[in-house]
Amino acid sequence: MASDPSSILPTASVAPAPSPKAESSRDNGRPARQPRPPKPNYKHIYRFPLPLSVHPLPPLIPHNPLSIVSVILSYMTFFISSPSHEVYSAYFDSNTSSVHVTDEKAVRALWEMGFFGKGNLSRSEPSWLEREKKRRGLLGGNTSEDLTSARRSERRGLKLERARTERKIIEERLKAEAAARANGAVPLDSSSPSLPPSENGATGNTTPSTEKFSLRKARQGKSLGSQHSEGQDQGYNASDSVSETKMINGGKTVRFSPVVQEKEFVSESTTLHLPDPSLNENDAGEEPSLKNEEHLQLSNEEAFFLVYGLGALQIFDDKRSTVIPAPSLFSLLRQHSYFPPRESPTALELDDPFIISYAVYHHFRSLGWIVRSGVKFGVDYLLYNRGPVFSHAEFAVVVIPSYDNPYWSETEERRDRSARKQARSWWWLHCVNRVQAQVKKSLVVCYVEVPPPLSDAQANAEHDVGALLAQYRVREISLRRWVPNRTRD
C-alpha cells in the first residue's frame, strides 16, 4: 500500500503514496481496489497533526524593518480579536466505560486532525453511513462489497479446486496401491502408517457434564435450542422466549429487540424499539435521511489526552448534562479501567490500568506518534508515523507495569502482588513477537515504573494530575528475534 515504512524517512517534501480508501471493505477484511476512484488528497485532508490551530508569527527578517512591523501587527490583531479556539464535545457512557462523539463536525475534526478515535462500526475512520447508503443502492455504482465478494469467491474457488485435486491424487494412489496389492506386486511396507489422531480430541470427555448446575444448564440448553428453531421463522414470538428465560434465571433479564429484516418489532412494552433505518428513507430524494448508527468512539486515553493534554475536547457526564472537569475525569477513567468498573473513587490504586496506559499514550503522543489500539495484533498500542492513511504502523507496543521502587518489595504481600502484576510468560512474549513478525512490525515492550504511594502533602494534591503523572517513568525496550544465521558476517 504505502511504500515500505521501514525505509521512509518522513519528510514534508516526500509525498507518500496515498493508500486507497480501504475502509470500504470492512465487511470481509480485504482492501477493495475500486476501479480508480479519484484519490483524496490525504496530504491536504490530514495536514493538521492535532485538533488545535496555530498562528505562526510572520518571519522576522533582521535587515527588513517591515518584518518587525508585521510581527507587531500580528500580536496586535490577537489582542483585538483573538482567534477562536474550538472545543469539541463528547460524553462518557458509563455502561460501556467509553467516550462517544456523535456530533458530525467533531467526528471529522478529531479524525482528521490527529487520527483520534474510531468509528464503532468501521475498522477505523467512521464510514458506516456511506457504506450503508451504497449497500442500499442509494449511491450509484457497484458497492465495494459486491466487488470484494466476487473476488473472494473466485479466490476461494481456486483454493477449493486445489483441495479437490489433492484429494483426488490420494484417492487414485489408494486405488493403485490396492490394485497392486491384489496383484501381489507391491510388498507391504513393514512400517505401519501412523494413524491420524481422532478429530474430536475431547469428545470422550465432553459428554454432558455432571456439574452441580447441570440441571439448569440442560434446561437452558433446551431453551436455546428451541429459540434456535423458532428464530428461523420470521414471525416467531419473542415474548415467549423472554418469559422462558426469565423463568429460568429468576433474576433480571435484559432483552434486546430481535431485529428482523422487516421491522419485526415485538409488541411487548419493555422491548425497546430500534429505529428501523429502512423506514427512514422517507423520500427518494438525493439525500435520503438515514439514521447514523455509528459514533466515533475514543479510547479513554485519547479522550483524556484531548481534554487534559490539548484542551480540545469537553466530556459530558453520563446524563449529558454537565462537563466533567479533567481531574474528576481522570479518577473516573481510572475506576473504569477495571471490568466491571470499580464503584468507589477511593478504591484507586497507583497501578490502575488507566494511569499506566495513559502515561504511555501521552508519552508517545507528545513525541509526535499517532497512537492507536493494537488489539488486532494482540498488543496494546500501534505507533504510526503521521497516521494510518499514510503507512503501516511500524511499532507494536505492549505495556508492562514495573515495581522497581523498594516500596513494592518491602512486605511479602507487596512482593507477591507486584510479582503477579508484572509477570508475563515467555511463551506469551514469543507469541506476540511472532504475530508482529507476520505483519512486519517491530515489537516494543514498554515498561512503566509505578511510584510508591504519595506522601500526605502529595496526596492532598491528588487532583494535580500532572504531579501524579510525573511520578511515573517509561522505558521502551525494542525486541526482535535474533537469528544467528543472519548475523554471521
Partner: protein, 443 residues
C-alpha cells in the same frame, strides 16, 4: 489505513519476513542428507552455510496423515535417513587423531616420571579455588577439566588454554563440543580406570559419559551448552563472560568514559522546568494561549518522564539468569585468545522451565546497564529513524531455552524519547534541520 495492516494478515500465508522463517525452526527431512555425497563429507567440505542452495527449502510436508502406502513409505524413508545420520560413528583418522585426557579434579601439572611425588601445592588436587592456579606454570582457568596432548588444527585458535608443557586445557563446554563433533578423542584418565600409569587410558569417553561428566560442572548447564555449541557450529567464537558464576559479583564490562547528559536531555529538562506550571495540574497541558507552532505544543506536552540510557548511573547488580554469560564474536571478527576484542554480541542464557517469566524492568535494566553504551551510529542509522529505534542505545541477546530448543531475542534500549518525530518532517509548520526538507518551510 489501518486496513493496510489488516491486509497483511490475510496475505501472511506467504512467508512474510525473512526473519520469520528459519530452517531450524522445524524438523527437516533427513532424506536431504542422502543427497550429500559421501566423498564430500569425508573430504570435510561441510555445509557451513545451511541456507545455501545445497539444502532445499522446507514445505514438502503433508497437512495430515492419509492411508496411502505412498505417504507411509516416504515417512519410513525419512525415518531411516534420520536413523542413519544419527548412527554415523565419530571416527578419528589414525594420523590426525587428537587425544585429550579427562581431568576430573581440574588443571594439574603433568606427571613427573622422574619425581613420583609431586609437591602437594602443585598438584591442584586440593579443592579447586576460583582464580588463577599456580603450579601449572601458567594461568589456567580453574574450571578446565580436560587437556589435549597433541593440540593441532583450527579449533585451538579460539578454544582452550596452553600450559607451559604444551598441553591445551579445555573448559567443559569446549571439551564436550569437540568430542561431540567428532574432533576430539577424550580418554578416561588411568587414575579412574585403574590402569597402570598416569595420563590417558586406552578407554575412550563416550558421548554419554562426556555429557555426564561435563554437564552440570562449574556452572555449565545444558542450556548454556546448547547455546555454546549452537553458535560454535555456525562459526561464532563463544567465550565465557564475567557473569558466568551466579555467586560472583559481576565485573561490569561496561566501564566507560563518563557520559555527559546529552544536549537533548538538558534541553528537555529546561523545557520541563519552563513549562512546569499550573497547566499540568488540571490541563490543558498545551496551555490556553495562542499556539505559535505545533512543535511548541508538542514540547509543552512532554510531561511524562522517560528513561534516558545515555545518562550515567551507578551500575546495578544483575540477577541470574539475567546476566551476560557469553561474549560472542562473529566468524568475520578477528579473534585472538590472548587479547579478545570487544564482543559483537552479549548473551544471557535462560532456562524457560526454571525462569518461566520474562524479566522485570529491574532485572532487564540491570542486564542492559551491564553492557556498554552502543548508540546507533553510521550513515544508515542517522538516515533511518526506525532503524535507530530498533537498534537502541544498549543491547543484549537473551537465549531462552525450552527443553533443548533455543530461541534468541535481542533486546535494545530504544529510548523513543530521544526521537521527536514531530520535529522530523511532519506536515506542519516551520522546522529545524533543514537538510531533511529540501524545499524549506512552505510559507
Amino acid at each position: 489505513m489501518a486496513d493496510a495492516d489488516e491486509a497483511a494478515i490475510h496475505s501472511s500465508s506467504t512467508p512474510s519476513t525473512q526473519e520469520d522463517t528459519d530452517l531450524d525452526d522445524e524438523t527437516q527431512d533427513f532424506r536431504i542428507l542422502n543427497n550429500l555425497t559421501f566423498a564430500r563429507i569425508l573430504t570435510g567440505t561441510s555445509l557451513s552455510d545451511p541456507s545455501n542452495a545445497s539444502l532445499p527449502r522446507r514445505g514438502e510436508k503433508d497437512f495430515e496423515p492419509n492411508p496411502t502406502l505412498h505417504q507411509a513409505d516416504i515417512l519410513s524413508a525419512s525415518r531411516n535417513a534420520m536413523h542413519n545420520a544419527l548412527a554415523h560413528p565419530r571416527l578419528h583418522f589414525p594420523k590426525a587423531r587428537i587425544i585429550a585426557v579427562y581431568s576430573p579434579d581440574g588443571p594439574t601439572p603433568p606427571p613427573a616420571p622422574k619425581n613420583p611425588e609431586p609437591s602437594s601445592q602443585e598438584t591442584g588436587s586440593e579443592t579447586p579455588a576460583r582464580g588463577p592456579k599456580k603450579g601449572t606454570g601458567i594461568v589456567i582457568h580453574p574450571d578446565a577439566c580436560a587437556y589435549v596432548i597433541n593440540p593441532k588444527g583450527q579449533h585451538f585458535k579460539s578454544l582452550g588454554q596452553a600450559d607451559s608443557w604444551g598441553r591445551v586445557w579445555l573448559l567443559p563446554e569446549e571439551a564436550l563440543y569437540l568430542l561431540e563433533r567428532g574432533t576430539l578423542d577424550i580418554r578416561w584418565p588411568c587414575s579412574m580406570t585403574g590402569e597402570d600409569g598416569e595420563g590417558p587410558s586406552e578407554l575412550p569417553m563416550s558421548l554419554q559419559a562426556a555429557y555426564t561428566c561435563f554437564i552440570g560442572r562449574d556452572g555449565l548447564t545444558v542450556e548454556r551448552f546448547s547455546v555454546f555449541s549452537g553458535l560454535r557450529r555456525l562459526g561464532y567464537v563463544v567465550s565465557r563472560a564475567p557473569g558466568w558464576y551466579d555467586s560472583e559479583e559481576e565485573v561490569t564490562g561496561a566501564v566507560q568514559a563518563r557520559q555527559w547528559p546529552s544536549i537533548n536531555g538538558l534541553f528537555g529538562k529546561f523545557w520541563d522546568w519552563f513549562y512546569s506550571s499550573n497547566s499540568t495540574a488540571t490541563g490543558p497541558v498545551a496551555g490556553l494561549g495562542i499556539h505559535r507552532s505545533y512543535n511548541d505544543i508538542f514540547r509543552k506536552l512532554a510531561i511524562i518522564p522517560w528513561y534516558d540510557p545515555v545518562t550515567p548511573k551507578p551500575p546495578q547488580r544483575t540477577t541470574p539468569p539475567f546476566r551476560v554469560v557469553y561474549h560472542i564474536y562473529k566468524p568475520s571478527t578477528t579473534f585472538k585468545k590472548t587479547a579478545p576484542p570487544p564482543p559483537d554480541f552479549r548473551v544471557a542464557v535462560i532456562n524457560a522451565q526454571t525462569q518461566p517469566t520474562i524479566p522485570t524492568l529491574s532485572q532487564l535494566g540491570a542486564l542492559l546497564e551491564s553492557t556498554p553504551l552502543d548508540p546507533p551510529r553510521g550513515e544508515k542509522m542517522s538516515r533511518l529513524l526506525y532503524m535507530r529505534l530498533r537498534h537502541g542505545y544498549r543491547n543484549v541477546v537473551l537465549a531462552i531455552v525450552d527443553h533443548g530448543v533455543v530461541s534468541y531475542l535481542r533486546m535494545g534500549d530504544a529510548a523513543f524519547g530521544k526521537e521527536r518525530i514531530y520535529d522530523k518532517g511532519g506536515l506542519n509548520g516551520p522546522k529545524k534541520g533543514g537538510h531533511l526538507h529540501p524545499k524549506g518551510n512552505g510559507r
